[in-house]
């Protein structure tokens, strides 16, 4: 996992509440090998017209979006299907952080596992940020994970990033969670032995 410490980027604004993972990555691409890259499938059906060409009106296709590594989204982004492919598509496209009022729970966890930093900010603040970007699309945001601080443009100020410290630590260090859990194997085994003994049918 590639570590995330601190990044500054312009924001691409993705409109619409309840943007589900079917929109982020349509199901028919889920068969694909990750090695081929999922970025090409990102927002496939809303980013392209019926002929498959990029729709110049879609936010991600605009010239000012090129090179941006962060998105501003609306509430409940990533709801619906648990497909981690939605996160792969964002990460493979080069997205490193997503700012919004709320995220689908499974999407949120999937993002953390791939060092895609989800930043929850109050809905009112997100709306002010969107308004600011409408006036100044080139404005940038800095996500400083080490200090757990997001700095917004203009007079929108700096705000704490509320993120579970354990996940933050893993992302900062690019640390592998499975390796870390292995360090607790003694406790796991002891728990497991007693647990299965109490319900022996579970282990059959």
């Amino acid at each position: 996992m590639r570590a995330f410490i601190k990044e500054t980027s312009a924001l691409v604004v993705i409109p619409g509440a309840n943007c589900d993972t079917d929109q982020i990555l349509p199901g028919r691409f889920l068969k694909s090998d990750r090695a081929l890259g999922y970025g090409q499938f990102l927002f496939h059906d809303i980013r392209r017209n019926a002929a498959g060409a990029l729709d110049p009106a879609f936010a991600l296709n605009r010239p000012e979006a090129q090179g941006a590594t962060m998105l501003l989204v609306e509430d409940n982004f990533g709801c619906g299907s648990s497909r981690e492919g939605a996160v792969y598509a964002l990460v493979d496209h080069g997205i490193r952080a997503i700012i919004g009022p709320g995220f689908g729970d499974i999407f949120y966890n999937n993002a953390l596992k791939n060092a895609l930093v989800p930043v929850r900010l109050e809905a009112a603040l997100c709306a002010r940020l969107a308004a600011h970007l409408a006036e100044a699309p080139e404005a940038t945001v800095t996500v400083d994970l080490e200090r757990a601080l997001i700095t917004l443009p203009g007079d929108l100020g700096a705000h704490p990033i509320l993120i579970d410290a354990f996940a933050r630590d893993c992302i900062l260090r690019g640390l592998d969670e499975i390796q870390m859990t292995f360090t607790h194997m003694e406790a796991i085994s002891a728990f497991e032995t007693a647990h299965i003994a109490a319900s022996p049918w579970l282990g059959r």
Partner: protein, 459 residues
């Protein structure tokens, strides 16, 4: 109840918050190839293969039972890769030709894999279904799946709790599906975000296990982490003598444990929602989010009436996609196809409800029935339901996720309008350009014989 099960599975708590939870069951489907690739890359194997069950459902053909029946070589390869991964991992699995095959959330209860008090995960968001037995059951991604396969544990932040109490009595023709569409329309598609829902109240107590599964299934459509129903005599009667559950000599021991799981009378929840079950009507969705639901007696709403510019804009877009004008009555809306299936509504009781509406009448539009499991299919055939469906002009298919996930080639053509018993009416969910109206199995059957959205209470 949630706290009791959570704490009974907490191996340790990290100083910064998350708990390391012991996972009793991990259910695997074809989409797990990413997690298996991850294990191979690390030189690991599944640590507790007896607690892992593989079930082929997302990509399986419903027109035959050989990988060659799949809609194309890439899909056939998914099914073969799944079998190979299960064999490699030493994981017990129910493949395409197994009598135990079916949709994972239908099969796991049938086989006694799902039991009260367990922690159950699956890389599918509708794992919430299985909380109907009083279990902590939730969907995970492939990274988390690899973590469970390697360690039989998962780091999780404890969700908040919400109790949804449903009072009164459901009217004729009103089902658990209608309860959930009513709930989601009320609290919104993000309404239970970050919460574990416990469903309670007289309506829930009176529901069968099949209907409780439907209830918990759609918790995720309200953004809940999971849904649960406290186990009771209905639950115990269902799980007794199931293949992977406790044996008869262990039954009393298991029962004693399960009887202690229900929430205490003075249990506190972070939030409470009350629904009057007696006031719920058969529901239908008009838009592209499950929260866009109204009673069948209602009309397509006018976006101008919604609070908030964003909601107005989203609704206009949804109506444009759905090809609907504000004010149109839902009843009488012409439908192109009917799909009865999915982990929401393809259990035996759902098929019985659909058959009861048909009563020999013919479907006037193409309609397919995809049983939730091969076992449900066999039971429906034994009960004469399959013959009745065929007689009414329905296609009687093999089991799988089919047109709910639309990954196996079963899908709508662009612009086609479908009365569907599935769980998601998202843009493009049933195929690019597809228009989905979510309904109960009885409502879907009614739509099949009239070719229109129809109030099943008048049939």
């Amino acid at each position: 109840m949630f706290a009791k099960i959570w704490e009974a599975h907490e191996i340790l708590r990290h100083p910064s918050g998350p708990s390391l939870l012991y996972i009793d069951r991990d259910l695997i489907h074809e989409g797990s190839f990413h997690a298996f690739a991850d294990l191979r890359r690390r030189g690991l194997k599944p640590r507790r293969p007896r607690q892992i069950f593989g079930i082929a459902d997302h990509y399986v053909p419903t027109t035959g039972r050989r990988p060659e029946d799949a809609a194309g070589p890439a899909i056939a390869q998914m099914i073969r890769t799944f079998d190979e991964n299960m064999d490699w991992g030493g994981v017990r699995h129910f493949g395409l030709q197994s009598r135990e095959q079916g949709i994972v959330h239908v099969v796991a209860p049938e086989q006694g894999i799902t039991l009260p008090g367990l922690t159950i995960v699956c890389s599918d968001s509708h794992t919430s279904t299985q909380g109907a037995f009083g279990a902590i059951a939730f969907g995970i991604g492939q990274s988390e799946n690899a973590h469970v396969l390697a360690t039989q544990t998962l780091w999780q932040i404890r969700p908040r709790t919400m109790r949804v109490t449903i009072d009164g009595v459901l009217g004729a023709g009103v089902t658990a599906k209608d309860v959930m569409l009513t709930l989601i329309a009320r609290i919104g598609a993000a309404g239970a975000s970050g919460h574990a829902i416990e469903f309670a109240g007289p309506v829930v107590r009176a529901l069968s296990m099949e209907a409780r599964l439907t209830l918990c299934n759609m918790s995720i459509e309200a953004a809940a982490r999971l849904g649960m129903v406290a186990p009771d005599e209905t639950t115990y009667a269902y799980v007794r003598n199931r293949r992977y559950g406790p044996g008869e000599d262990e039954w009393e021991q298991a029962l004693a444990h399960w009887r202690g799981l229900a929430s205490d009378a003075d249990a506190l929840f972070d939030s409470e929602v009350h629904l009057d079950g007696s006031a719920i009507a058969p529901m239908v969705t008009w838009g592209t989010s499950p929260e866009d639901a109204v009673p069948i007696t209602g009309r397509v709403p006018d976006p101008a009436g919604f609070a908030g510019a964003d909601k107005r804009k989203a609704s206009l877009k949804a109506l444009d996609y759905m090809g609907l004008a504000p004010g149109t009555p839902l009843e009488g809306l012409a439908i192109d196809r009917v799909f009865i299936g999915s982990c929401t509504n393809a259990r035996i009781e759902d098929l019985r409800a659909a058959a009861a509406v048909l009563k020999g009448r013919k479907a006037v539009i193409p309609a397919i029935i995809v049983p939730g499991s091969t076992q449900v299919k066999a039971q429906a055939e034994a009960e004469g339901l399959a013959a009745a469906f065929r007689q009414s002009g329905f296609e009687w298919r093999e089991s799988g996720c089919s047109m709910c996930a639309a990954l196996n080639g079963d899908q709508l053509a662009p612009g086609e309008r479908c009365a569907s018993t599935s769980n998601r009416n998202f843009v493009g969910r049933q195929g690019p350009g597809s228009r989905t109206h979510l309904v109960s199995p009885a409502m879907a059957a009614a739509a099949a014989i009239t070719g229109r959205l129809t109030d099943v209470r008048r049939i």
